[in-house]
């Protein structure tokens, strides 16, 4: 059940350059069904910024009534979020969308998790879920440069974690696909979240029947009512068939939707 809740900011930290991790407390964490779900955040109690901002749930701890978000402070809305302080009450709508269903994975299988930039956060919750199922988790994380890199340690605690940066300032230089190729990583399922070019590259020769990808799209309502966030389906790329990223996704099987 989707709810709109005034949640309490427990803590907020800048974990990399302009990347903030905020921990929120309230009833919502108990309703989260799977990693990869997101919340839609009213970044200010005033009229502007008018639209909510979609942000993935990076981790959640239902028993402690807490969940974490990790976001890059960039525009009007996320810069308001970066100014939140512990104790603030903030307006959060969620949990929204369908997260990563990993029930088709069997113990002992190998999962490759590929994240880019602020696509990385929801994959942490996913990695924990997979590890909990007894899946062997490998992770490849791509960032712009060393200062914008985060979560390397947390993923490393769950399995092999490789980092690539475009400028080579940390980890391996180049794109995530370069790392996969160079290291000849093998896997039974690949899960990914990140910029569209990355997803498109993976969708080609790396995708698997199991695994999933998580998409971003500019959103209005976040609940499936306004049709702002639709994408075409792969089997009807020019027609009227569609998926709504907010309510049918943001997580989709590889090959289901057109990545454009």
């Amino acid at each position: 059940m989707i709810q709109k809740e005034w949640m309490t900011v427990v803590s907020i930290d800048e974990i990399a350059a302009s990347i903030f991790e905020v921990v929120l407390e309230g009833d919502m964490p108990e309703r989260i069904g799977a990693p990869g779900q997101f919340v839609h955040v009213k970044t200010s109690p005033h009229v502007a910024p008018l639209l909510r901002r979609p942000v993935s749930i990076s981790e959640y701890w239902p028993a402690r009534r807490r969940m974490a978000l990790v976001f890059r402070s960039e525009g009007e809305g996320t810069s308001r979020m970066a100014a939140w302080r512990a104790g603030d009450e903030v307006d959060v709508l969620g949990p929204l969308g369908n997260g990563f269903d990993t029930s088709d994975m069997n113990e002992g299988e190998k999962a490759l998790i590929v994240g880019g930039g602020v696509g990385v956060p929801p994959l942490l919750g996913l990695a924990k879920q997979l590890a909990g199922q007894g899946i062997r988790v490998q992770t490849v994380l791509g960032f712009a440069n060393a200062s914008s890199t985060f979560f390397q340690k947390r993923f490393s605690s769950l399995g092999d974690c490789f980092v690539s940066t475009i400028d080579g300032s940390i980890g391996e230089p180049g794109f995530v696909t370069d790392v996969i190729d160079r290291r000849k990583l093998s896997y039974d399922a690949i899960y990914a979240c990140g910029p569209l070019p990355m997803l498109r590259a993976l969708d080609g020769s790396y995708a698997t029947a199991k695994g999933k990808l998580s998409l971003e799209e500019r959103m209005g309502c976040g609940i499936g009512a306004c049709f702002a966030c639709v994408c075409h389906t792969a089997d009807d790329p020019e027609g009227t068939s569609y998926r709504k990223v907010c309510s049918d996704g943001p997580v989709f099987p590889w090959g289901e939707v057109v990545l454009s």
Partner: protein, 303 residues
């Protein structure tokens, strides 16, 4: 004070309905609250054939407003009458069905189909959607075309017809008078203002469709002015909209001359906007000595 409002085809428990296009066909909101609480429901535009609409991005944020260019995505007349409207019948809330098209014949076909379905309490003729390029826009800006379309749709409809006016015109009162003369049972205003935003990063329009419709609090002064102006020239019921976020905005529209209101963008930034506003209004009405809305309006802005 009594909150009830009685408009042609629409017996409303209160004067508040969600605006067309900002509420889908209600299913998503039904998970959040009881749709019986609403005064009415204006559903998404129906076209004759199913439409995908425009490519994304379809929305952009602006100061105190938003741009949208959804492009009338909908499952078409058949889809709406077979899948969407039947489901809405479970609620004791009248449905205002929004009719769109690109040719007069499209409008007639959709209006006839929706009307015959028996599931729409009234029709709302969307002659003003700025996101359909083929020519839909001209119906809303030319009094003669608007009148002819109204007449033709009235001819095929057995439920009341509201005409939804475009604000992108030199003189909205002319269009209002023309469609009144052509037999409209009521007016809805305003639809979105035509607007645009350019993405500094790409130096291209942010919306795939380039131009979109501006809605939200930013446009409220324009909407209030138009409701006020149209109120001076017609006795038709007016459903006022444009930037309503809270109870005070509802009262402002009622003062300007509206008989009921629609809440659009607010549903998008807060899916509980309608019930919250209705609750505020109910609390307010409880302390208000006037008998009903007509009584309350006495002595206010001249209607």
């Amino acid at each position: 004070m009594k909150m009830h409002v009685s408009l042609p085809g629409l017996e409303m428990k209160n004067p508040v309905m969600p605006a067309s296009g900002c509420f889908g066909f209600g299913k998503e909101f039904a998970q959040l609250y009881d749709l019986n609480d609403l005064g009415a429901i204006a559903v998404k535009a129906t076209t004759e054939e199913a439409r995908f609409g425009n490519e994304t991005p379809r929305v952009a944020e602006t100061e105190a407003g938003m741009l949208n260019a959804i492009g009338l995505q909908n499952p078409g007349l058949k889809g709406v009458t077979e899948q969407e409207l039947p489901w809405l019948q479970q609620f004791n809330t009248p449905v205002l069905a929004n009719v769109a098209g690109t040719k007069m014949e499209d409008y007639e076909a959709v209006a006839a189909g929706l009307s015959e379905s028996g599931m729409a309490a009234a029709l709302e003729l969307n002659i003003s959607c700025p996101n359909v390029k083929e020519g839909g826009i001209t119906f809303g800006t030319d009094p003669k075309l608007a009148a002819e379309l109204t007449r033709r749709v009235k001819d095929v409809s057995n439920v009341p017809v509201y005409v939804k006016l475009s604000p992108n015109v030199t003189d909205i009162t002319e269009i209002a008078k023309a469609v009144e003369h052509a037999g409209a049972d009521g007016l809805s205003l305003i639809n979105t203002l035509s607007g645009m935003k350019i993405d500094p990063a790409t130096r291209k329009p942010l919306l795939a469709n380039e131009i979109g419709g501006l809605s939200g609090p930013a446009i409220k002064p324009v909407a209030i002015r138009m409701v006020y102006q149209v109120r001076q020239v017609t006795a038709l019921p007016i459903i006022g909209m444009g930037g309503i976020m809270g109870m005070e905005d509802v009262l402002e529209f009622m003062m300007a001359g509206a008989n009921a209101v629609a809440v659009g963008t607010a549903n998008i930034s807060n899916p509980f906007a309608c019930p919250e506003i209705i609750q505020q209004l109910t609390d307010w009405a409880g302390t208000e000595p006037a008998a009903d809305w007509a009584d309350w309006k006495q002595g206010g802005v001249k209607a």
